[in-house]
């Protein structure tokens, strides 16, 4: 087989940190290669070097036998390399079509060929099973839909080697599996793929070959069918990691009750006739394909959206009209969907982020002045109790890894002794070690009697943590099923919107 891509002896340093240390990697024609590693292992750096976003300190990149000049994304694109970034690079104020066309049209052309471009886009979308509305504004799309546009953008530019950076980070399992099927079909047409992942199951299911990075070094390469998830996990982490297990215990009284809630946003109904109950000491899992109303549900329970009809009660208090601070006072703790956008202010210190929600409480301010001493002591407690690594209270929070950032957010929520916790995609983008830590904290809060609503697109996570599960589809919720009854088929059907028949059968 011919090598479509060769990375030879790549080394990249950022100051004292060596992100890639003498990494060599090749990709065969029509192959799917999984690049496996924990956060910070150097996967994204390596792919950014390949794509020309970074220039390597040492080593060479060859595409189809030609050396790529370092640091020139344009050259990489011209050579047929397409990259789908984990953090989207879309212009929110433009439409899907405009984003796809952006940069692929010659500037000298007077009239933009929209019609032609639209036909090409729709043909690609149709062929690869990635439905989009070409005239929809990016800002109105869900995270999952934006991901789809990112992939289409690369395909539109006739990429022959496609690099996907954590492509399923925002997709639900069935969507992810369909994506991988699509990718598999694409390889039959001569496309070669690298996808970056830290999820073992998808690496096992979707790749031909696995390359494992750890601490910037290539530690192993395996044929996928000759390895096991257990071996890969150990190679990736360097030790054994196990996720904590939920134990059955007595469920308490109802804490958070939503009754026939409808939420509207900009004239559109986002949640419709939504009813659920979360009891003390219970985790209720909400599963679904992204873009089906999870954002509205998160906003509702965070105090950022309010019911247009129906009621939301927390510990017998009507909380539908309360804002974020009111919700917190009523006993709610909120873990937002997007850490960077809503969870923290990156340029502020840990301690400022730790007390951000409770600046106006007597604990952290007096007569309008912030009690910095108290805030820093509190942050030090969080750092110790929640094992937040590599940081002091004065560190700017954007320097923390995703896992440590999430531990701080969980810490500020859980240390407040909440009666109700919203955990919205609490482990998205985290590595195995951090996922285990977050799960352990959520289960500990459950054991202490907190009522927890878990919104997750990870089925393993939802099934492992939840006592009961409901599916969200197009802004509506299914009836709950107990976690014991939740097998992948049934959940898959629920997430596809097929639940009424099931109810009759049950």
């Amino acid at each position: 087989m011919t090598k479509v891509l060769e990375l030879h002896n790549i080394t990249k340093r950022f100051g004292a940190l060596t992100a890639n240390d003498d990494v060599t990697l090749t990709l065969d024609q029509g192959e799917i290669l999984a690049l496996l590693g924990e956060n910070g292992a150097g996967k994204t750096t390596l792919m950014n070097i390949l794509f020309g976003h970074y220039a390597a300190d040492e080593g060479t990149v060859r595409v189809f036998g030609q050396d790529l000049p370092p640091g020139l994304p344009r050259a990489a694109i011209a050579a047929g390399v397409g990259m789908v970034h984990q953090h989207f690079t879309l212009a929110g104020n433009l439409t899907v079509l405009e984003n796809v066309m952006l940069g692929s049209e010659p500037l000298t052309r007077l009239k933009s060929a929209r019609g032609e471009a639209k036909r090409k886009l729709m043909a690609i979308a149709d062929r690869f099973g990635l439905p989009v509305k070409p005239e929809a504004k990016i800002s109105s799309l869900s995270v999952g839909e934006r991901q789809r546009v990112e992939i289409l953008k690369a395909l539109y530019r006739d990429a022959r080697v496609l690099i996907l950076d954590e492509p399923t980070a925002v997709l639900a399992r069935p969507e992810a599996m369909r994506l991988f099927e699509t990718l598999r079909d694409m390889t039959k047409e001569g496309l070669s793929l690298i996808f970056i992942s830290h999820k073992l199951h998808e690496v096992m299911a979707a790749s031909d070959r696995v390359a494992v990075l750890r601490g910037g070094k290539m530690v192993a390469e395996r044929r996928t069918r000759e390895t096991t998830p257990g071996e890969l996990a150990e190679l990736m982490v360097g030790r054994k990691v196990e996720r904590p297990v939920r134990h059955d215990h007595q469920i308490g009284a109802p804490v958070l009750v939503a009754d026939k809630v409808r939420v509207e946003d900009g004239g559109e109904t986002r949640l419709d006739d939504v009813s659920f109950t979360v009891h003390a000491g219970e985790i209720l899992g909400i599963v679904g394909v992204s873009g089906n109303g999870q954002a509205a549900l998160g906003a509702l329970l965070s105090g950022l959206a309010h019911p247009a009809s129906g009621t939301l009660t927390l510990a017998d208090q009507d909380v539908g009209h309360l804002g974020p601070r009111g919700m917190i006072r009523a006993g709610a703790g909120r873990v937002p969907e997007d850490r960077h956008a809503e969870g923290v202010v990156g340029e502020l210190s840990l301690w400022e982020n730790a007390v951000l929600e409770r600046l106006r409480t007597p604990e952290f301010s007096r007569r309008g002045f912030v009690r910095q001493g108290a805030a820093k002591a509190y942050t030090n407690d969080l750092i110790k109790r929640f094992d937040i690594r590599g940081a002091a209270p004065d560190t700017r929070i954007r320097l923390l890894s995703g896992g440590n950032m999430q531990k701080l957010i969980l810490g500020r929520v859980l240390s407040n002794g909440p009666r109700f916790v919203l955990a919205n995609q609490p482990t998205r983008g985290l590595d195995e070690g951090a996922i285990a830590a977050v799960h352990a904290e959520l289960l500990a809060a459950r054991a202490e009697g907190a009522a927890i609503l878990l919104i997750s697109e990870e089925l393993e996570e939802a099934v492992a943590l939840s006592d009961r599960i409901q599916a969200i589809v197009k802004g509506r919720l299914s009836e709950p099923i107990s976690a014991d009854e939740a097998d992948p088929q049934r959940l898959g059907l629920m997430m596809a919107g097929v639940w009424t028949e099931d109810d009759h059968a049950a």
């Binding site: 917190i328 202010v345 502020l348 600046l359 301010s365």
Partner: protein, 347 residues
């Protein structure tokens, strides 16, 4: 070549950035001075002597720095919250006008009247910025446009008032408003100069602004909202309230600049009493990297350029407009310098 964000901005860069910016601006302006067939070193020497060469020139420079500290603080407070208040000039003038109008016939002792007039000037400036802030929050109207255009409206309005209802009959046809009562003139800081105690007020204001920004809940919420509005909203920080609070504070500081200038220096209002204090305040704030302590230093620098340019012009014949060129260049070079403090250049 590409830019990479620095993980950490070292302190020496924070201090070095404005110095490098000023140096670059002076270097660029030197080209213009040379074009006027004057040795730039001679010109800058005259400038320094004109601003700092004698007791009188130093007091004159500090007199000029006083309103710049206020308007610089006004811009710094607003910019930190990403409220782009370009209307410092207009707020300066309404503060001045209201002070002269009320202060002309206010029948109270000076020690009551002065604080009262300062409050009146602050209220006027705050009210003027409240409008654009409201329009932005309610309808999303860009405040850069509204605050900038209000400057012209306010200056024309001031012209109307001093030609009409507030005209000073004793000014011999010179267009000036009625003066504030002698009881409300600020005492001199240095006898037989124009330097008044307003300078101390300005320095105290810088201290107070620092305290508010760095130590209060309002300051922390402003910072959060300015850096990441959606995270602030998620944490329950009301964006409208924060923006409005910032607008009132910023407008009040610029209004105070006008009020103090009237009570300290001009007594009456004229349309030429400000050589662009409001606009120069923006440069001051940027040179200060939006830090209140830096505002004082930057205001002294800009005042040195303004005052020194007149002396330089007399001695060398280079037009004193070079001062405006230098100050404007400083804004541009500072923006470039800030880029290099936030990012590093990589090959």
């Amino acid at each position: 070549m590409r830019l990479e964000r620095r993980a950490h901005v070292p302190l020496h860069l924070v201090i070095l950035a404005p110095l490098a910016a000023v140096f670059a601006a002076l270097l660029l302006a030197a080209g213009l001075i040379a074009a006027a067939e004057v040795n730039p070193l001679t010109a800058y020497g005259e400038m320094l002597r004109g601003a700092l060469g004698s007791r009188l020139s130093i007091t004159e420079m500090l007199t000029r720095a006083t309103p710049l500290i206020f308007t610089g603080l006004a811009a710094a407070v607003a910019f930190r919250a990403r409220l782009w208040n370009i209307g410092g000039e207009g707020q300066f003038f309404v503060g001045a006008l209201v002070t002269a109008w009320i202060g002309h016939s206010l029948g109270v002792p000076g020690w009551i009247g002065v604080p009262l007039l300062m409050l009146a000037g602050m209220a006027a400036g705050a009210a003027l910025l409240a409008g654009p802030a409201f329009l932005r929050l309610r309808f999303g109207v860009d405040e850069v446009v509204t605050t900038l255009l209000l400057n012209f409206i306010v200056i024309l309005f001031v012209g109307l008032m001093i030609e009409g209802p507030l005209r000073d009959p004793l000014a011999f046809g010179w267009p000036s408003s009625v003066p504030v009562d002698g009881d409300f003139r600020l005492p001199d800081l240095v006898p037989r100069t124009r330097l008044h105690i307003g300078l101390l007020f300005a320095i105290a204001a810088a201290g107070a602004v620092w305290l508010v920004l760095a130590r209060t809940v309002f300051g922390a919420e402003t910072r959060a909202a300015g850096l990441n509005a959606s995270a602030a909203a998620f944490a329950g920080i009301s964006l409208p309230r924060t923006i409005m609070g910032v607008a009132l504070l910023s407008g009040a500081l610029a209004g105070l600049a006008g009020s103090v200038e009237v009570m300290g220096v001009t007594a009456g209002v004229t349309t030429t009493m400000s050589p662009g204090f409001g606009y120069a305040g923006i440069v001051v704030a940027m040179l200060a990297a939006l830090h209140p302590a830096g505002v004082v230093a930057a205001a002294v620098f800009v005042a040195t350029v303004f005052v020194g340019a007149d002396a330089m012009s007399r001695a060398t014949g280079v037009p004193s407009f070079i001062a405006d060129v230098i100050v404007a260049l400083c804004l541009l070079t500072m923006l470039v310098a800030l880029l290099f403090t936030t990012y590093r250049v990589r090959r």
